[in-house]
């Protein structure tokens, strides 16, 4: 059991970034995965020290159009594939699926208040939530940037 999961269990009701910072080993700790990965569901996932930051890709926001509503994830344990909120345009709603198993430890309150962040900067300021990976989290089928680009091209 990593320190991170242990801490979360000790303080199950603690939320957000403070918790994440507390639980995350110091910056000298090696980054396990430094680069951004993608999913077939048009999400990006950036894993750093066992914590995955998740958002939708630029391609996804372009396809959705103007995003006017974001339903944030609940701070709780999730299984890969679970619905963890939605992003919505006037015309359509799209579910967000957990790309990995773990615990949602933080949601981006800024995008809920200002959904246009998702159009303006989907892969930066417009991140959606952070998931602390479970010890057995499966990250093997995440796509590289190159593989994701190919997927997008193939869909056009």
């Amino acid at each position: 059991m990593s320190l991170a999961t242990f801490s979360t269990r000790l303080f199950p009701t603690m939320r957000s970034q403070a918790m994440a910072r507390f639980a995350t080993p110091s910056s000298s700790f090696a980054r396990f995965y430094g680069t951004k990965k993608y999913t077939e569901e048009h999400e990006w996932i950036d894993i750093d020290n066992g914590i995955a930051t998740i958002g939708i890709t630029d391609h996804a926001q372009g396809s959705l159009g103007e995003i006017v509503y974001v339903q944030s994830a609940d701070l709780k344990d999730v299984e890969k594939g679970d619905t963890i909120g939605s992003v919505e345009s006037v015309k359509a709603a799209s579910d967000i699926y957990a790309p990995v198993s773990g615990k949602v430890i933080e949601v981006n309150e800024d995008v809920a208040a200002n959904p246009s962040l998702l159009n303006d900067n989907p892969e930066g300021e417009g991140w959606l939530c952070k998931i602390q990976l479970s010890s057995d989290a499966d990250v093997s089928n995440l796509l590289s940037e190159e593989a994701y680009k190919k997927l997008v091209e193939a869909q056009h």
Partner: protein
């Protein structure tokens, strides 16, 4: 995410990316899509085309998002290509009698030059389609939904044959040599006035006139599907692009697609066939009793009249309502609850660009339809408060003489 690409469990209307706009698609993708005469013009103007009712239609244009296009229409004017809709002309000296046998409208007492919203009913009083009937000196001009075109025509033709066999004088002609272009918004009248160089203040909403606009012979109906003042203009196919360019020459006019059309009509409390209306819903349940003329209520004489007359007398079990939903927007098929009991479902819903609230329409049990009634709508497994709200959600801007 983009369940869009992976049909969401709880939200059937999900779109986006590749499967995008499936919500708009009535026809199988494998079928060749029909194109209106404005197709190339749409592409040249940055339209994103989607399959809709067997046609390739613009859902939005690259210069405006759906929300921005919606707001533009509410404050200025927009042009919508609605040429996919089925336009027909009914002729013969018994045309009124024939059409009254199929619809609930009192066409007999409709003034020449005026039109009415109506519905084609089936034997059970359910709605086969909604339609606009415009009465002219020598004919009826009828516009109905593209998505219902095949079944409407089959229905009308079957009854026409019967009518003719009994000696009735009526005939039906499809108008396919004209495009239909809607100009909608508070500035629509000023834009059209500048082209016809004529004051249109005496042109009431729901009237139809033959007009020559910059040398093009058109049929102009003051009507629309946005809740705003506006016109639906029938233009010869050969002149359609030229005519659209004339409208777009005004700085107050932008092109708009199906995306804005849907949110505009929803805010205006207008029904969309296949959502608020279908063959199991009667006009009384749909809140369209006002389309049934007084004489027709008394006399009947249309399909399903006995069922509808019974409902008028004894009431209905379900009713169409408007809802303002708290939390996430409720979309089609979201279940509606009252005190934990399932009492209906949402038929259309979206975040409303004009009111900034999440609005929806749906059906609930009779008795729960009064404004202010507190209900709950389930979205992705969460029950959210929803308040029954009087329709339309935005005040109508229809022109009054």
């Amino acid at each position: 995410m983009l369940s869009a690409l992976r049909f969401a469990k709880s939200i059937p209307t999900v779109t986006v990316a590749r499967t995008a706009h499936r919500a708009y698609s009535a026809a199988a993708a494998s079928e060749a899509l029909r194109k209106t005469v404005l197709y190339n013009y749409h592409i040249e103007n940055g339209a994103k085309m989607v399959p809709y009712a067997g046609w390739s239609m613009p859902v939005l244009y690259s210069n405006l998002s759906v929300g921005a296009s919606h707001n533009w229409t509410r404050t200025n004017a927009s042009v919508f290509d609605v040429s996919h809709m089925l336009a027909t002309r009914v002729t013969g000296k018994d045309r009124v009698k024939f059409f009254e046998s199929l619809t609930v409208a009192d066409i007999e007492n409709l003034p020449v030059g005026s039109s009415t919203l109506s519905v084609f009913t089936n034997e059970d009083g359910g709605i086969i389609d909604d339609t606009i009937i415009c009465k002219h000196e020598d004919s009826l001009y009828v516009v109905s939904n593209a998505g219902c075109a095949d079944k409407d025509l089959a229905h009308i033709r079957a009854h026409l044959k019967e009518f003719q066999n009994k000696g009735g004088d009526a005939d039906l002609k499809i108008i396919d040599d004209h495009a239909l272009i809607a100009l909608q918004g508070p500035k629509a009248a000023a834009v059209l006035e500048s082209l016809v160089e004529k004051d249109l203040r005496d042109f009431p909403f729901m009237d139809g006139r033959f007009m020559t606009i910059k040398g093009i012979d058109c049929h102009v109906a003051r009507s629309g599907y946005t809740g705003e003042d506006g016109f639906e203009i029938s233009v010869p196919n050969n002149d359609a692009v030229e005519f659209t360019k004339l409208l777009l020459a005004s700085p107050d006019v932008e092109l708009a697609g199906l995306g804005a059309r849907d949110s505009l009509r929803l805010e205006a409390g207008l029904c969309l066939y296949g959502h608020e209306l279908d063959e199991t819903i009667t006009p009384v349940e749909a809140g369209l009793t006002w389309t049934i003329g007084k004489r027709r209520r008394a006399e009947g004489g249309f399909l399903g009249a006995s069922k509808i007359q019974d409902q008028l007398k004894n009431g209905v079990s379900k009713r169409r309502i408007g809802l303002v939903v708290q939390g996430a927007p409720a979309r089609e098929n979201a279940p509606i609850y009252a005190n934990g009991e399932l009492v209906g479902k949402v038929t259309s819903g979206c975040p409303s660009p004009s009111t900034k609230k999440n609005v929806a329409m749906g059906y609930v049990k009779n008795g729960l339809h009064k404004s202010g009634t507190e209900l709950e709508v389930e979205v992705r497994g969460r029950k959210q408060k929803a308040i029954v709200t009087k329709l339309p959600f935005v005040p109508a801007g229809y022109h009054k003489v």
